[in-house]
């Protein structure tokens, strides 16, 4: 069985994100970029599945300019066998990403497509679900535990009320939650070895992916600065203040 893991390049979670002065997006020049943490967890899980002998190959894929090769190389250094870059400029919306991954699924025929539950840049939480729908296969999202047996995956999902365990037939789409595992460190010799692992570059056009329209980013702005607090004298004053602000 193959496992396809998707890796998105995002601003590192430690970086304080800044909006560009012209409001056209967030600053990424010279900013530390990393694999989306949920995707890294997905990859770790895929590698563990392979190390248990339950999969033969782990393929990492990313959509974007040549800079995403950096994240793909990190994925290879962590232990993935090969990588696919689907080159695309500009913003890639969840539906475009799902359509792209569907093409890769048709090409590679994986038993599992493992995504992060969401990417920490746009927090859309849509791509995995869309892919499952387009592919017409089951999905198990927000995974915090995954077990494979007899062509099925038993997945404990993190839901608002706690944990829900479901069983899905493979092939299926899985998306990782935070507590699924703790990703490994990259071993130094693997960084060099990753350079020699195959990295294939395709384009949206090669794959015949139609870009989704639909969402247009009009402008970005930072959240408003929090104003100073105010000390009130009495409960009555508090209530009337809240009312005057339309909060009650």
């Amino acid at each position: 069985m193959k496992i396809l893991v998707t890796l998105k390049r995002v601003v590192d979670y430690n970086v304080r994100v800044r909006v560009k002065s012209d409001g056209s997006g967030v600053e990424t020049d010279g900013v530390k970029m990393s694999i989306n943490p949920f995707d890294e967890i997905a990859l770790e899980e895929a590698l563990r599945i392979k190390e248990r002998g339950e999969a033969e190959e782990v393929i990492v894929a990313s959509i974007g300019g040549d800079e995403v090769q950096q994240q793909l190389r990190t994925g290879l250094a962590m232990g993935a066998d090969r990588a696919i870059q689907v080159s695309a400029d500009g913003d890639v919306q969840p539906l475009t990403a799902a359509r792209t991954f569907l093409k890769l699924v048709e090409k590679e025929e994986p038993g599992i497509v493992f995504l992060g539950k969401q990417a920490i840049d746009d927090d859309a939480n849509q791509t995995g679900q869309m892919l499952a729908a387009l592919w017409d296969r089951p999905q198990a999202t927000f995974a915090s535990k995954v077990e494979l047996a007899d062509g099925k995956a038993t997945v404990a999902r993190e839901v608002d009320s706690g944990l829900e365990t479901i069983e899905v037939d493979l092939p299926a789409v899985l998306t990782s939650d935070l507590r699924l595992n703790e990703p490994r460190f990259v071993k130094l010799p693997e960084i060099m070895k990753a350079k020699r692992k195959p990295l294939e570059t395709l384009s949206l056009e090669d794959l015949g992916v139609e870009r989704a329209g639909g969402i247009e980013a009009v402008s970005y702005e930072p959240p408003p600065q929090r104003g100073g607090g105010k000390v009130v004298e009495s409960v009555d004053e508090l209530v009337s203040e809240l009312k005057s602000k339309g909060l009650l």
Binding site: N14, D29, G30, V31, K32, S34, Q69, Q70, R73, T74, A77, F185, V186, K187, L188, P189, I191, M192, A194, K195, G227, G228
Partner: protein, 596 residues
Amino acid sequence: MPSYTGPVEDFRFLIHECLDLQECRDLPSLAGVDSDIIDAVLAEGARFCESVLQPLNAPGDEAGCRLEGDEVFTPEGFRDAYRTYTENGWPGLTSSPDYGGQGMPHFLGIAMSEMITAANTSWGMYPALAHGAWELIHLHGSDEQKRTWLPKMIAGEWTGTMNLTEPHCGTDLGLVRTRAERRDDGSYRISGTKIWISAGEHDLADNIVHLVLARTPDAPEGTKGLSLFIVPKFLVDDGGGIGERNGVRCAGLDHKMGIRASATCEMVYEDAVGYLIGEENKGLNLMFTMMNGARLGTGIQGLGLASVAYQNAVTFARERLQGRSLDGAKNPEKPADPIIVHPDVRRMLLTSKAFIEGARALAVHTALQLDIEYNHPDAERRERAGHWVALMTPIIKAYFTDMGFEVTSLSMQVHGGAGYIVDTGVEQYMRDARIARIYEGTNGIQALDLVGRKLTAANGETVKSFFTEVERLLGECADEPAMAEFTKPLAGAAERLKSTTAAVYQKMAGDPLEAGAASVDYLELFALTAMAWSWTTQARAALRALDAEGARSDFYRTKLDTARFFMARMLPETLGLEQKILAGGETLMALDESAF
């Protein structure tokens, strides 16, 4: 509690934009090491230091090491961190691929050392000493010794130490008393006591390979009678694994001001089996090659601690609200402005920043020269690089550790009273930084090395290696008007250094005490001039990058502003130093000893 982020951006700027790697592409250590690999190593190294080492720093300081019988236990978490470190291949980062290393360039080694020290200085002592020991065996050991010791040491399974100091002998190694008696099988039996041996005993690795300076029975007096021995904690069995326990043990553990989680041990040797490295009576020279690497490493300790102390000072200065800006409130909706608005707080932060980034650039450049010195196919290049390294070693050791301590003190000052309170966590940096000015040869001894040895070394070629680089840089920038604000002060400082050098040289010839009298000020003068060179190279790279379209302009503009600060407010110290040096040693020597 303090936090730490590895300065990966700055390293990337220095490596990709300030070094001329294209010009060094004949270096074997650069083969196959492209910018992706460099970035990946930096990112992974930073991640390890930030997430594994840094959290162990304060608890390790509080717990310290523990001696039970003759066994030493490191603080909780140190063993696991060390295991992760070795499993991920870090001990072999720059070491020879012939023995299992990764053979990567030294600038990556220096970057990793800085981040390790910044995250956890005490922990970093164990791999650092091991590194020095394998480097020495690699350079001077026999083939058999290399085969026996290097693979395990480079894998990090075994660590190493350097054993020089004895109760009556620190700086003056000619006084070493530890004895070595020859046996018929070619080995020696070592007996004596060494003190303050870092990483002398611990629970991180299976074996500890001590490098010990000792004296054979018929050896001449003084430093010309010292020989160097490999004395392992456990002998090696026929299969190359751990064999019998050797006659060396830890008899005491010292309680210290700082680096408290680094085991500083009294080591007692009783007929311990030792193996001679190189020839008898040539030990000190061999030890010096280890010490050169170790001295650079010690300088980097100053830099690393400065870097983490500065980061925390900046965070504090942005958050702490006290007073109003002298030119009117900057933060009117709050009861006070953040202290970062005050010129004096900025002076402290900028002094720190200008030191750290200037020093880092000098270190990265020097590390590249190390690769060239060891590995370049062209002999002339090797020699030139060797001069640079020899010259910069005492400067980096002494200036970086003096300033490293100063910056940790500035960080405490920025923190005000909170800085003095243990729970804030920044006083540890100051305590940890203090030792680096003392060990590996006190900074006073570094200054004597510069004035007494390096000034006259290789017929002056060693010193010239610096002036040649300065002239080259000035020449290359001659047609760039935007560079004038940097090249002018650099040229002025270089002239001042040149004339002062000539004056010192002359005085020394008349009276050797003059060398000692001038030495420390002279080293600082040299260091500041080297920093001016370093800042000029960075300013040039930043200006070029800004000329290119669409660059991340904030980063480069900050570089230029910091370079300006250095030229305007730090480099002028050279004027005072020049005066002090030219004043000579007369007033130093005037007092009778009884008058003190």
